[in-house]
């Protein structure tokens, strides 16, 4: 009888303890430090080296996952990924957030509209640097006005 009495309490207590002890999947993942990465991971993630140990564990896992398929990419795509990681590493947190938001908005466009947008980017890139700088100033001025 005593056993029954306590087994009920043990079950409830154990359930509560289990709930408290259950880690969220992301937190349970190991996050290696820069020195623990292998040569290929260091090569791909080189631009992130300075900040690596400060990056949240879950995000580090995400970057490592990205390197898994890197060697299977054709050389030109490997180069693109390297450039993008470089660009990403140099962005401020605000710029990263802006990039994420704009990317999501652009994904709502049709494939044709996205193709046109890529062409526009190429055209913009062909402008002389001083003209692009003027456009940046124009954008900042407009934002101040708004």
């Amino acid at each position: 009888m005593v056993k029954e009495y306590f087994s009920r309490r043990v079950t409830v207590g154990a359930g509560l303890l289990l709930m408290l002890a259950m880690p969220e999947s992301g937190f349970a993942q190991a996050a290696p430090t820069w020195s623990e990465l292998n040569a290929e991971q260091r090569q791909v993630l080189g631009p992130l080296e300075k900040d690596w140990n400060e990056i949240e564990p879950e995000r580090r896992q995400h970057w490592l996952k990205m390197t898994e398929h890197y060697s299977q990419l054709p050389p030109e795509k490997q180069q693109r990924v390297q450039e993008r990681i470089h660009q990403w590493a140099r962005l401020t947190p605000e710029q990263r957030q802006q990039a994420r938001e704009r990317y999501q908005r652009i994904q709502e466009l049709s494939p044709e509209e996205r193709r046109v947008l890529r062409e526009r980017w190429e055209e913009y890139q062909s402008l002389p640097e001083h003209q692009r700088q003027e456009l940046r100033e124009q954008h900042r001025y407009r934002n101040r006005q708004d």
């Binding site: 005593v2 306590f6 009920r8 309490r9 043990v10 409830v12 207590g13 154990a14 509560l16 709930m19 879950e58 995000r59 995400h62 990205m66 795509k77 693109r80 990924v81 450039e83 993008r84 990681i85 660009q87 990403w88 962005l91 710029q95 802006q98 990039a99 994420r100 704009r102 990317y103 999501q104 652009i106 947008l117 890529r118 526009r120 980017w121 913009y124 402008l127 692009r132 700088q133 003027e134 456009l135 940046r136 124009q138 954008h139 900042r140 407009r142 934002n143």
Partner: protein, 120 residues
């Protein structure tokens, strides 16, 4: 207050009867009490801990609603994350996208798009 009087009288009668119990029964009761205390002292520490926690009704009054609240919060969190795109997925897509990341952050590109679309 009749009930209170009745209860008081029952307690008095029981106390009176207790004092008049034969020595043999008093000894058996004492023996049973010692036996129960001995059994309790051999319980493992964690059973006693659970008893301490689970034995109080107040804990159930607090723990159960708290557990439901936690579960509800978990469900809301899960649903929000299920609908919102994973920021890591967006970053992966940005890294592999045909447009460079600067296209999403260069304010000059925004201004140029606005100007050229106005001209058209």
């Amino acid at each position: 207050m009749k009930e209170d009087d009745l209860a008081r009288r029952i307690v008095q009668r029981l106390d009176q009867n207790l004092n008049e119990l034969p020595a043999e029964i008093v000894a058996r009761l004492a023996d049973a009490r010692i036996h129960a205390l001995n059994a309790r002292s051999t319980m493992s520490w964690w059973v006693r801990l659970v008893e301490l926690v689970g034995g109080h009704r107040i804990m159930f009054k607090v723990a159960l609603p708290a557990m439901f609240l936690l579960m509800a919060a978990g469900a809301v969190f899960f649903l929000q994350n299920a609908t919102a795109p994973d920021p890591f997925d967006i970053e992966t897509a940005l890294i592999h996208d045909e447009l460079p990341i600067h296209a999403y952050t260069d304010p000059g590109f925004d201004a140029w798009l606005r100007n050229t679309s106005r001209e058209e």
